[in-house]
Amino acid sequence: MLDAIGAPSVDALFADVPEAARLSGLVEGLPLHAPELAVERQLAAMAARNQPAGDRPFFLGCGAYRHHIPASVDHLIQRGEFLTSYTPYQPEIAQGTLQALFEFQTQVARLLGCEVANASMYDGSTACWEAIVMARRITKRGKAVLSAGLHPHYVSVATTMARFTGDRLETALPTLADGAPGDDLARLLAAIDDDTSCVVVQNPNIFGHVADLSDLAAAAHARGALLVAVVTEPVSLGLIRSPGEMGADIVVGEGQALGVGLQFGGPYVGLFACAEKHVRQMPGRLAGETVDAEGRRGFVLTLSTREQHIRREKATSNICTNSGLCALAFSIHLSLLGERGLRDLAALNHGKAVRAAGRLAAVPGVELVNGPFFNEFTLRLPRDARPVVRSLAERGILGGVSVGRLYPEGDGRNRGLVVAVTETVTDEDVAAFADALGEVLA
């Protein structure tokens, strides 16, 4: 090959690298290549130092939920034609990906109660920020009002970005006293003014509260603002009315709960849906229907004049890679469930959570904070929940997320413990959790 190229050596092909920056040998401080067996052994040893959720009573949520994923989901997404394909820029040989994305968009739009959806975002937190920016573009107003019940990481992402973009955000910290999110609702209603682009509210919220967003939507619309709703547990929508039906204009979500798995935080899949009239302000990729030269139906990426590779600095977003394979997993899981399965799964989650909440609130000194909730609720403990969580872990129980980890500000909030109960939790798990909690608090 070097002869065909006309070069004396491979080194000669790197002649344009300045001499001062050429390494004389290998990069220092790294081992040499290793066989598959050795790599597997090393990584398996690292994996063994973690405590997987499936091995023990497990109750964590707060934006990432453990559900049973049917075996066929992971089998199908590992087909090489899905796994090792690229963004479908050549639609004639990417109809599989494109049709699957078109189906995903339809499922997401229906689930969230909106007219259209895009082909996925990185995750819920980045989708949430993109929704705030989209609302600014639509309304040409610069202030977003964020619910105190919005996931604190989502708030953190938005505050970080807003510092640089000049968007103004009104935020507040939640209090455990909000048995129902009434105070938050009152604050949001009072904050909407003629400069408000949107109100951002999560349902169910970070403490698991479920609310009817209709009044908030009406109040926002009355002042020309949009309602952005965030869903971090899409299984809840098998039971709860969707934000779109409650009047939200843009609905974003974290789709991880369906098909994707916990994976220590990523990759996940952002959901993004809105009214059709706003579609040209939407970020991210879109699959659309068209016909080929023989009039047969086919699918293509469309409206790319919004996107960075065409519009460059005038694009609606800089997003390029999205979360296609996770979107596929979401879509397959939802196809296996169907509407009946999703409703049954939601009822199962809810039933188990209600029972578990009753059992845990019976532990001396423990109170249930919530009014209406779906599969996640918050307990008020007699003391800081952070050491309690660690003590439970030592007893082999992953017993929820301490509010103090999410909100380091303290202020009584840190007595909160957020507990998620999905179909993967057994009655024995709940009993073991309740007993251990009693022991730790005694």
Binding site: L13, E92, Q107, R241, D292, T321, G324, G341, G351, F373
Partner: protein, 518 residues
Amino acid sequence: MNGNAGGWRPETPLPGHGAPDGFTGNRALMLEEPLLFESGTTDQCGVDLPPAPEVASPLEGTLLRDAPIGLPGFSEPEAVRHYTRLSRQNYAIDLGLFPLGSCTMKHNPRLNEKMARLPGFADVHPLAPQQTAQGALALIHLVGDWLMKLTNMPAIAMSPKAGAHGELCGLLAIRSALEARGDRRQVVLVPESAHGTNPATAAFCGYAVENVPATADGRVDLAALQVRLGADVAALMLTNPNTCGLFERDILAIAAAVHEAGAFLYCDGANFNAIVGRVRPGDLGIDAMHINLHKTFSTPHGGGGPGAGPVVFSAALAPFAPLPFVEKTADGFRLVEEENAEAHHARSFGRMTAFHGQMGMFVRTAAYLLSHGADGLKQVADDAVLNANYVLRQLEGVLDAPYAASGPCMHEALFSDKGLAEGFSTLDIAKGLIDEGFHPMTVYFPLVVHGAMLVEPTETEGKAALDQFIGALRSVANRARNGDPDLKTAPHFAPRRRLDEVAAARKPKLVWRPPPAG
């Protein structure tokens, strides 16, 4: 030279050339598949769930769903068949060479997939108590450590979700560093050959974007850059090797000029595959660079994601890196996040995403790094560059290669549409390659070359595969030069003929809706 030594030719007739229409519209293994919504019903379910316990629910009234959602369900065999049939309408690396320039479509080793599915990585919650996730934190630390050593950069942010997200992370760190010294520079310089994400990211961060001109040999015009640099320039966003496939020879002088002007040098690391293990970006004077794990480090592209875009930082930018990050302490690994950040990382610019980044991609990357080692990674760059130069020299006689005289190319070879017959374009060549059984190269990018065709073979192709691709591209290019009318209507053998993208955009149909009654 001929990869098809036996001379076998497919005998599929062209549509309308005498094949019977049939009943189903299918053609043997080419199977049409209806949409989920056209074939399923909402009362079918492929998952066997136990009954829900009877409870007194706190949910009532307007909180509850009262209307149908419209989600069809399928039995497991139906679902498996639907998605298997769809998958067969995709081209993929597993099927053949996938020469998309700047996308680095290399083989995705299956060990990566196996490791990512170990329950100790796949089934761990991001907010699990840190004492129960020490192995996961150790793995993030391990990958970060390798990436810092490979780049000779002292700090890393692991959380960015993809390349463009990494660019955003890098520019936010740059802006934070400038603001920390009271400097409110407004301009980011971007070469015209840059990826579209570069100017989009700069604009998203509130910067005005200005182009940097190139020289005739396809590199940044250092003299013009020096003239333009000044107190208003925050950063230069450079891709090196650049998207013309060339190493920026003047990189050290560019870095010196940028720094002298008080600005920062951002490097788009999309093309790191060309130099990994051979050149460390930190030695080139770079201040921040994202690394696409789904390119250089072989994590799968999955039909458009997920990716992962960790960002390495110079010492000047390190204090501004985002949360969270993993720290090694005397008794293990610690995740530094909002709860415990104050004392450690007071100048961090904030948070890019919920949780800690693309863990699943980190595990795959770790498997790739450990498998290759320092020696294997150097060979990755060697072979990627060797393959691209081979493609360039084998094809420069039949396709115009505007920078063929600019020195060896790096990992990708760039061609233009000069010399094609009247009315023939790069698009025709791309569609002709589809009929030859290949995914086309990147087309119409970079913008600096007319009708650009950017070929990146990657190191995972052997000579026989390259020769077959070269033969196919040479044949298609000759057809385009000679004005073969059949090429204008290619592809003929794909699941679809050319699709009407203009119609799709004019009246977008983005979701399925039932056909009107009657």
